[in-house]
Symmetry: C2
Subunit: 477 residues, 2 copies
């Protein structure tokens, strides 16, 4: 902003001054002038400090992929403990999380055998069984998950590979539907397709990757697991270009025969951990604000966008607050959850362990939408606290953030489990940038992080959580 | 244009008419009105007919990868013969091309062992030897090929993996340098790095992929082969994100140890073929115009942009001319060359077989720049023919094409071999679109073709070659 003003002044070639003061319309009876000034200084620091990016670089370079229960996950836990300390968090600990079953991805190879031989880029969906050697079958296409469901249960798909070709990009948003509609629709087959297909006799399920790109990567993702009494069939995603290729072959109306070989394997239980870093507030209290992200990633990329960006933004936002002249009034707790990708293992364990202390969680939010800027702040707080949120928002409005009229935020991602249980929450809706091009693919790597956007993201969290930490507000409903 | 005029008329809300007639400034003493009208009709047909795209779809779907000497190449030859006939070419034949050595790509796996374990996306450079089991070495970075060359020959790189990290995108064009400068610089290490590194004792060469993307694909490409008396070391490209990752690890100043395993293998001789389709002109003559593209592709994508687009544009452009009411005066020969990617095998063989008939090649051009539109027509003809080219250009100017002041075109790609030998030539410089993001990667697939751009590309070739076929011009120098 300041730079822009300077440039405008230069362009106008006229004497010109601008104030460093915060917006004039802040109601200082709600947020004091000192706190307001501090918040502005903090925001500007966050906008010029690349710490959040450096954290993502460190995590993706020194750790990389970190699916829960893997060696990478163990390294991520050590990394986080060390990073929290380095950043000045004064209480740092882990809470063990049990994972009832591990999973080995193995390799996924596929080829069209006829009518035209082609290698197919495919990846196993999370927690799929393998093919137990080569699996050969005729591909039968279903344009949507509903089309697959419409096949009567029984043996109609015996010997067949069910292929749900739905493309997330084809989703036509309806004013009443959220923009994530295409993703939601795509994940139906991703999460339930293998059970639905198995009930109809299919030998395997393949889906077009749930993503918006046309790169030749398959997007992995998690299913709901297998159902008792239903045959466990392999489930995999093919890349968008391969899905299009298969559709173009199918248009020629020959039977299309595919060979798949997946060595995925469900294995015994594993352990992971939620990693927690606290900056203790200056006033004695057992209350804290919670900033969440998830530490686990999928295993083919280095988890830069999903959710290295969240880890970087939250660690940096809290660290900036902790590094201010005065420590914040209330404590800040950064929660790095285990096993979000494979079914909210970390947050569910956290809820079990901390459900008696839910009222000590003053306000929470999670960053799990990549490295894009925030465009909308959605509150989920008591009616009386809305007035305060309204004033707080004015201090992040210069970041291009609007305040939603809704008051139904649950905190996002893992944090929504706490939000649903009654914790006051905020959702920081982000520009998705190219999130759905990269996420859950080998292409989710550090070079996709846009530095300036990450600084804007971090500034939003930092400013709001500083204000919430300083002000003796009860955000509860 | 017509649509645009209609829209303008509607916007002006006034009576308005426009003529279907060609531009008024055509010199009808050079190109007759009838030929001009035919050329315009042909251009408009090409702009509205998706044939070139359909051909690329057919080639990439029914054939796919087709590196010279492979099974895919054999299928491509059959496909082309059939397609030529289907499109009305009346003389269709192949000319066998010998390949002195075949090559099996095999698999390329790589991982950083320390300080941080990472899988690395890598692909063998064409005609590299394999690693003969695991090859483990310390990575030594050279920012440019010149830096590697600056190491004295001998054993300085003993036990090391030489890594040339040059990024094509870093190239800063100088007004005097062609825009392809970054590609040229990048291909130095790609073509000669393995020999240069081996002379300095290195165990292997890796390069940052020569491309403009930050996708996690490695770009393959061909080297100049091995040198007598110099150790044959493996040569591979890593993806841009992996190159960046390795650089970021190296910045931490620990020795970075990599393990590579490549099962590439140079094998015995193979055979391929140039595939030739002719539309015989209506006047008896043994002269012909030549439209070139290369049939071979790299083997990880389906070769849609490189050079499916060229094949589609040239087959369609000639077919459109052949389907006109009157056959063209001169014959048109579409040449689909073998083995361009691996060293101009096809065109070199063609030159050997046809060098006595070079004067029968009236004018030639090759399309090997992806599916983008033409922006500049560069002549390479006799001074007297320039006048005619000037008039011909007016008929493709509405496609957004300018005429270059240079007169040094050799025809492009394979065709330049004929151009260098004296054949009059034209270069149709194309917008590269995202060509260097995709080319030589698994991501070079049909979905990257932009239909409208392909129609513009085809219209340019079709219009110019129709004119050249109808007019009794000697294009020679």
């Amino acid at each position: 902003m300041k730079k822009l003003l300077t440039i405008l002044c230069l362009l106008l070639l006229s004497p010109c001054s601008y104030s460093e003061d915060p917006p004039l319309d802040i109601d200082y009876s709600i947020i004091s002038k000192t706190i307001t000034n501090n918040a502005v200084a903090l925001r500007e620091r966050a906008l010029s400090d690349n710490l959040s990016v450096d954290i993502v670089e460190s995590l993706t370079t020194e750790v990389g992929p970190r699916r829960m229960g893997t060696e990478g996950d163990k390294r991520a836990i050590s990394w986080a403990l060390e990073k929290f300390k380095e950043l000045g968090f004064d209480r740092v600990w882990t809470e063990e999380v049990l994972l009832d079953r591990g999973w080995v991805r193995g390799e996924a190879k596929a080829e069209i055998l006829s009518p035209y031989p082609h290698n197919i880029v495919m990846t196993a969906l999370g927690y799929s069984v393998g093919t137990n050697g080569d699996l050969v079958g005729e591909i039968v296409e279903f344009k949507t998950f509903a089309e697959l469901e419409a096949v009567p249960e029984g043996n109609n798909l015996k010997g067949k590979i069910a292929f749900v070709s739905y493309s997330m990009s084809d989703f036509k948003p309806h004013p009443s539907q959220p923009s994530m509609g295409g993703y939601s629709e795509g994940t139906k087959a991703r999460s339930r397709g293998h059970v639905t297909a198995a009930k109809r006799g299919a030998e395997a399920l393949i889906i077009r990757s749930v993503g918006t790109d046309s790169n030749r990567y398959a997007h992995t993702g998690s299913g709901y697991g297998y159902e008792e009494g239903v045959k466990k069939i392999p489930a995999a995603a093919v890349s968008a270009p391969d899905a299009i290729l298969i559709q173009n072959i199918l248009k020629r109306e020959t039977p299309v025969i595919m060979k798949m070989n997946m060595t995925s394997e469900i294995i015994g239980p594993k352990k992971g951990a939620n990693i927690i870093g606290e900056i203790t507030g200056r006033e004695p209290s057992d209350q804290y604000l919670v900033l969440g992200a998830h530490m686990d990633s999928w295993d083919e990329g280095t988890g830069a966008l999903d959710d290295g960006a969240g880890v970087g933004a939250m660690m940096a936002a809290a660290a900036f607050i902790g590094q201010m002249e005065k420590r914040p009034k209330r404590s800040l707790r950064v929660l790095l959850f285990a096993g979000e990708e494979i079914g909210f293992y970390g947050v569910n364990d956290y809820m079990k362990k901390h459900k008696g202390a839910l009222d000590k969680h003053v306000l929470g939010a999670e960053a799990d939408g990549g490295g894009g800027r925030v465009h909308t702040l959605i509150p989920g707080v008591g009616e009386t606290a809305l007035l305060v949120i309204n004033e707080m928002h004015k201090l992040i409005a210069p970041l291009g953030i609007v305040l939603s009229n809704n008051n139904n935020a649950k905190g996002g991602s893992d944090m929504s489990v706490l939000g649903e249980a009654g914790m006051p929450a905020l959702n920081f809706s982000q520009n998705s940038n190219d999130y759905f091009k990269y996420h859950h693919t080998p292409n989710d790597t550090f070079d996709k992080i846009i530095d300036e956007d990450m600084r804007y993201l971090t500034a939003a969290y930092s400013t709001i959580f500083y204000l919430a930490a300083e002000m003796p507000i009860n955000f509860r409903h």
